[in-house]
Symmetry: C2
C-alpha cells in the first residue's frame, strides 16, 4: 500500500490499488529514458513502438486485478497476456507480467517481501503451469531452448505441451526452476525476487524524477548481470559486451545516449533487465515512491 | 467497439473494453509529440511532468469504468477526478474527463455518435452538477470566471456552491451551457461534441503512427479554433496568436519544434485542444483505429 494518505490529504481521495501500481510500474518502465536497447519514450523500433507498450499496459490490467483478487497466478498471468496482445507490436510485457503477477499477489496479501513473494510462487500448481503454457498461444515470445531431453516441454509448443506437464506433475515453480539457469525472469522466481527487490531499494535511494531514477537503476542492473534476453537472441558474448559497456557508461568512459542509439541500431534489446526494472518499480510504488 | 476481432484473430483474445479505450486515449494524447504547449513525451514542465500524466491516466480508470457501467455522468466524473488526483502534478485530465465520461456512456450504449453523446448530456441532472462541483475539491483547476451575477455558482467554491445549484435547479448540462461561451470543453457539451468527432475523423484519415496522427490532428485543431484554456490564463490576444502561429506551422512558414519549445518556455498550454484531442482519440479507438 502507498502512504499517500499519510503525506498529503489532498491527494488521498483514491489511493492507488495494488493492480494500479503494477499498471503504473509498466508505464514508468517504458517511459524511463534513456534505457539503452529498450523501447522508451525517446527510442523505439519500427515494428515495436512506444504506443504498443501503452496499449499493452492498458490491456494487462484485468489480469493484474485478477492477481490482486487472489486468483491463481497462472489464471492472472494468462489473462494479462491475453489483454496485452490487443495491439500489433507483439510481446511488450510477457516477462514483466511473469514477475508482477506473483508480486501483486504478495502485495495484495500485505506481504510484499522476498519471503512473501517466495511463498506465492512456491504454492503454484500444475494448473498454473498449464495456464502459463496457454499464454504462449496469445503471442510469440523469444525464449531459451528447453533443457536437454525436455523438448516435449518447449514452451513454444503452447497448449500442446500441457499433457507432458501433467504427466510429469510439474508446477509453474518447477517449470521456472528448469529455466532458471538460462532465463533471468525464471531465476527471480527461484531466488526470492532478489534483483527486483534490490532495484526497488535503488529507486527509493536515488534522487530525481521517476524517469531519471528508472534510467539509472536500469543501467546499474544492466551493468551488474548479463541480460539473458540478449544472450538468448544474440549469444552470451554479446550479453557480456552489453554488461561491460553499461559499466563503462556508469564509470563515465562511454556516453549513455550514444550507447542507447547503438543498441537500438543493432537490435540488441536487454528485455530481462527491463522486466526486472518494472518489477522493482512496482515494489517501490507499493512502498510509497513519491509520484 | 473495436473491430480487432474481425481483422486479426491472434490479437482478438481480449478486445479492449470501452473504458480501456478511454484510458488508452489519455495515454496516446500525452504521448503524441510534438504537441506545442502541452506536456508530451519530449516536453514537460518542471512541476507537471509526463510521469504525472501516466499516474493520472492509471488513476482515472475506475471512474471511466463507472461510466461504462451506466452510472450517472457526475458520479463517474467525480470518481475519475479523485483517481486522477493521486499524483502531485495536479490537474492532468480534468477537461478530458469531462468529455470522456459522457462519450464512454454513449459508447457503452453502442451509440457513440453526435446524437448519442448529445442524448447523454441532455439527460444529466442536478445531482450530476453537484458531483461536478465536488470534483473541484480534489484538484485546483484554472477556469473562467462565472458569468456576471453568478458568483455563487463559481466552480472554485466546490461543494459550497451546491445549495445554489439546487436552488436554481441547474443540471450539469445547464452548468455547461452557462460556461460554453468561454470554455471550449463546455462548448462541446452543447454542440454535440462536434470538434471531438471531427478530430476522430481526421485521426482515421491521416497516415502514420498514432503519435504522428495525434500530433497532426492536434495542430490542425489548434489552428482552427483559439484555445479557451490559453484565453483564460493568458488572454484572448495570446490565444489568437497561438492559433495564427499554428496555422503558420501548417503552412510551412514556421518550425513545429521551435514553436513547441517556445510555448513551453512561455508557459502557454493549450489544454482545451489537448482535451478535445483525447476525446477524438477515444472515438477513433472505439471505431477500430489500428494500434
Amino acid at each position: 500500500m502507498t502512504d499517500l494518505s499519510e503525506t498529503d490529504p489532498v491527494t488521498a481521495t483514491t489511493p492507488r490499488a495494488t493492480a494500479e501500481n503494477a499498471q503504473l510500474a509498466l508505464l514508468y518502465e517504458v517511459a524511463g529514458t534513456p534505457k539503452p536497447g529498450n523501447v522508451d519514450r525517446a527510442r523505439e523500433y519500427s515494428d515495436l513502438r512506444f504506443e504498443h507498450f501503452l496499449a499493452g499496459a492498458v490491456g494487462v490490467r484485468r489480469g493484474l486485478e485478477t492477481a490482486e483478487a487472489g486468483e491463481p497466478v497462472g489464471t492472472a498471468f494468462e489473462r494479462a497476456v491475453g489483454g496485452m496482445a490487443t495491439q500489433r507490436g507483439g510481446n511488450t510485457h510477457f516477462g514483466a507480467l511473469l514477475l508482477l503477477c506473483p508480486l501483486v499477489r504478495a502485495g495484495a496479501a500485505d506481504d510484499l517481501t522476498p519471503g512473501g513473494a517466495a511463498a506465492v510462487v512456491s504454492c503454484t500448481t500444475v494448473e498454473d503451469a498449464a495456464d502459463f503454457y496457454r499464454a504462449f498461444e496469445h503471442v510469440d515470445v523469444a525464449v531459451a531452448d528447453p533443457p536437454e531431453n525436455l523438448d516435449e516441454l518447449d514452451v513454444r509448443r503452447g497448449e500442446e505441451a500441457i499433457p507432458a506437464l501433467r504427466g510429469r506433475d510439474l508446477t509453474l515453480f518447477d517449470v521456472m526452476e528448469l529455466s532458471a539457469e538460462r532465463d533471468g525472469v525464471a531465476r527471480e522466481w527461484v531466488s526470492r525476487f532478489e534483483r527486483s527487490f534490490d532495484l526497488a531499494d535503488r529507486l527509493g535511494a536515488l534522487d530525481g524524477s521517476v524517469s531519471e531514477r528508472t534510467s539509472r537503476a536500469y543501467l546499474e542492473a544492466l551493468a551488474a548481470t548479463p541480460d539473458t534476453f540478449v544472450a538468448i537472441n544474440h549469444g552470451t558474448d554479446v550479453a557480456r559486451e552489453v554488461t561491460e559497456r553499461a559499466e563503462a557508461v556508469l564509470a563515465g568512459r562511454e556516453d549513455m545516449e550514444k550507447f542507447a542509439d547503438e543498441l537500438v541500431d543493432r537490435g540488441i534489446n536487454p528485455g530481462t533487465t527491463a522486466d526486472i526494472t518494472a518489477a522493482g518499480l512496482f515494489v517501490a510504488l507499493e512502498r510509497g515512491l513519491d509520484v
